[in-house]
């Protein structure tokens, strides 16, 4: 008598169906990659006008990028804003998420929705609205204004990932810490933060990334004489597209790839996608 196989066979749609799914999936994946590849390829072109396939091979446009103060300043500005706004979003968002997850009080749902809402609202309207508010209070072309606007825009990422992490840990550990004499600040910093390290980092990372790539808010809030990199690119595209602009865009792609690897290293890309 032959013992029945205990392994469960993966349910198959049928070999043809499976093949179709595979083909379709990889086509779409190709579709997702192709534009990025095209941009990078075109950035190495020898000539000023943009074409694909590129004509020749040259790094001159990258050199031009780094030699141009407008580009370099915008790169620095984008970086500074992203770094500072994600830091601020974490400092503001972590305690807020903690209170929202752990405590029960009237208006909790409303507060939760409010904190996550910037994700759900058309960015263009938010940008316009912020311009109006900032103009009224004199922050319209300042670094501080741009920073605050970005912080508001990315706080939801921190609140969401921290919130998810907090649900996954044992709340009695926090009670134990309090029982042993820890003040609330000590509980948050000495006990909870280390336990949700991954979530905090992921939140901060997402905040950084979303600030870094933001266009619709930054368009309205230039700092006197300076724009963030995406806005510089957007403005340049209004006239025509040249290879140096493509090179600038390619730098954005390299940064994006590095960030993807970083996120994967910190939290694992598949769990990140659930957030």
């Amino acid at each position: 008598m032959v013992a029945p196989s205990t392994a469960v066979r993966k349910p198959r749609i049928g070999s043809i169906g499976l093949l179709a799914v595979r083909v379709a999936a990889w086509l779409v994946l190709l579709l997702l990659l192709a534009p990025l590849v095209v941009l990078i390829g075109a950035s190495f072109s020898n000539v000023d006008y943009v074409s694909f396939p590129p004509r020749g091979f040259s790094l001159q446009w990258y050199a031009r990028f780094f030699a141009d103060p407008v580009f370099v300043n915008s790169l620095i500005l984008s970086g500074e804003i992203a770094l500072l706004s994600s830091a601020m979003a974490t400092v503001l968002g972590y305690p807020a998420a903690y209170v929202l997850i752990r405590k029960r009080f009237a208006g909790r749902r409303t507060a939760w929705t409010l904190l996550l809402s910037p994700l759900l609202v058309p960015q263009i309207i938010l940008g316009v609205g912020l311009l109006q508010v900032f103009t009224a209070i004199g922050l319209a072309t300042t670094f501080a204004g741009l920073l605050l606007a970005h912080t508001v825009s990315v706080v939801p990422y921190v609140v969401r990932t921290v919130g998810a992490s907090l649900l996954g840990i044992d709340a009695s550990v926090e009670e134990a810490a309090a029982d042993l004499g820890a003040s609330r600040l000590e509980v948050l910093t000495l006990v909870v933060a280390p336990m949700i390290k991954g979530g905090l980092l992921a939140g901060a990372l997402f905040a950084f990334i979303m600030s870094w790539v933001n266009v619709e808010i930054s368009i309205f809030l230039s700092v006197t004489g300076g724009y963030t990199l995406p806005v510089v690119l957007f403005n340049l595209l209004e006239y025509s597209i040249t290879t140096v602009v493509v090179a600038a865009a390619s730098i954005g792609i390299y940064v994006a790839l590095a960030l993807v690897l970083l996120v994967d290293w910190v939290v694992g890309i598949d769990s990140a996608s659930k957030l």
Binding site: S172, V173, E175, A176, A178, L180, G181, S183, P194, M195
Partner: protein, 375 residues
């Protein structure tokens, strides 16, 4: 049913002297929305005693414990810890410490850092911290594991770290919330012995929450039984077992037969009619008037089973419904009347073999072994 308890003191023996008390719980109530979790509980915890809060899930024992620790605020009543009202004192400033059901060890800290946590919050000098931690790790037998992390420890070891971590702060009272629940039976029994010894060594009061009556009996000096938020009875183990006040307590600690009857004569010895038989039971302060319906509690081990009665003590005629062999003992299910079934327990093998299902037997017990209980 007009029944009253004869005197509040019947609830738990003598009133303790005031300076004997380390925690005074007076009239404490707590509700969550429409659910009453703790209902007007008053209890005194004495210095140096091991007391268990015993009851089924949802009876309010954990809520009461958490209120002592400061994690919940009572809706009514006061909790005094060592003479002072704890009402506005947050958990991190109360002189009590808690061992949690899930141990709640800090996963990112080593055993040493876990145990040192409370001492460091007090900003004690490092040398003192190190010395005290070492002392308590030795007390629980974990000196060799100082550098390990909680994830690397077994359940029993985590348990001890949690104990050391709480005790190292020299709390006035240690609160334990079903700390042995996650351990397997053998380990539980061993830990029970160690816990009791630990309490004796350290000398402070332990308040122990459990739903396991065997555990409560094995560990405690006193037991407080709770059900549905109310404190039903408290006293020594013997007291609760031999003199339960309510049907619930009789059933919860050990097994009990609960028999309905009607009072025929009242007095120091009350005579109750049970299915036509005259049963004597001690009054013991239970106010019973002739004609009242009462409940009689009887432990299975107090019942003797024989083919015929000898006329002494209380006797009931019954029919054997089932007999169950348990190895070192046996259980007998008998029926006195269609609505009265009893459980008897014995160790006489010969008797067991002789009895057959359907046979008529005589149940007997001494009058002082039965008790009148409240529903």
């Amino acid at each position: 049913m007009a029944v009253t308890l004869a005197g509040r003191h019947a609830l738990g023996g003598e009133t303790p002297r005031c300076d004997d008390a380390i925690i005074k719980i007076s009239g404490v109530s707590k509700s969550f929305g429409s659910i009453v979790a703790v209902d007007n509980v008053s209890l005194v915890i004495r210095r140096g005693e091991f007391i268990s809060l015993l009851g089924p899930s949802g009876c309010g024992k954990s809520t009461l414990l958490r209120m002592i620790a400061g994690f919940e605020q009572q809706d009514a009543g006061t909790i005094e810890i060592d003479g002072s009202d704890a009402v506005d004192v947050p958990p991190n400033r109360r002189p009590v410490n808690m061992v949690f059901q899930s141990y709640a060890l800090f996963p990112h800290l080593s055993v040493f850092d876990n145990v040192a946590f409370g001492l460091r919050r007090k900003r004690l000098p490092r040398s003192q911290v190190n010395a005290t931690v070492a002392q308590f790790l030795h007390l629980v037998g974990l000196e060799s594991l100082v550098g390990r992390y909680p994830a690397q420890l077994s359940g029993g070891q985590q348990q001890r770290v949690a104990l050391a971590r709480a005790l190292v702060n020299k709390p006035k009272v240690l609160l334990l919330d079903e700390p042995l629940g996650a351990l397997d039976l053998k380990l539980r029994k061993r830990m029970q012995v160690e816990l009791k010894q630990l309490q004796r060594d350290v000398g402070i009061s332990f308040i122990y929450v459990t739903h396991d009556q065997d555990e409560a009996l094995a560990l405690s000096d006193r037991i407080a039984v709770m059900n549905r938020g109310a404190l039903l009875q408290h006293g020594s183990c013997r007291e609760l077992y031999d003199r339960p006040l309510t049907e619930f307590v009789a059933n919860f600690l050990g097994e009990a037969n609960i028999i309905r009857g009607r009072v025929v004569e009242s007095g120091p010895m009350v005579v109750v009619d049970v299915a036509g038989h005259r049963i004597s039971v001690r009054g013991d302060g239970y106010a019973a008037a002739t004609g009242d319906g009462v409940l009689l509690a009887l432990r299975p081990e107090h019942l003797t089973v024989a083919d015929a009665g000898d006329g002494r003590g209380n006797q009931l005629l019954a029919r054997v419904k089932d007999k169950v062999f348990l190895g070192n003992a046996f259980t007998l299910h008998v029926s006195v009347a269609p609505d009265i079934s009893l459980l008897a327990r014995g160790t006489d093998r010969e008797l067991f073999d002789r009895l057959s299902v359907g046979q008529s037997v005589v149940l007997a017990w001494r009058p002082e072994d039965g008790r009148l209980v409240m529903p």
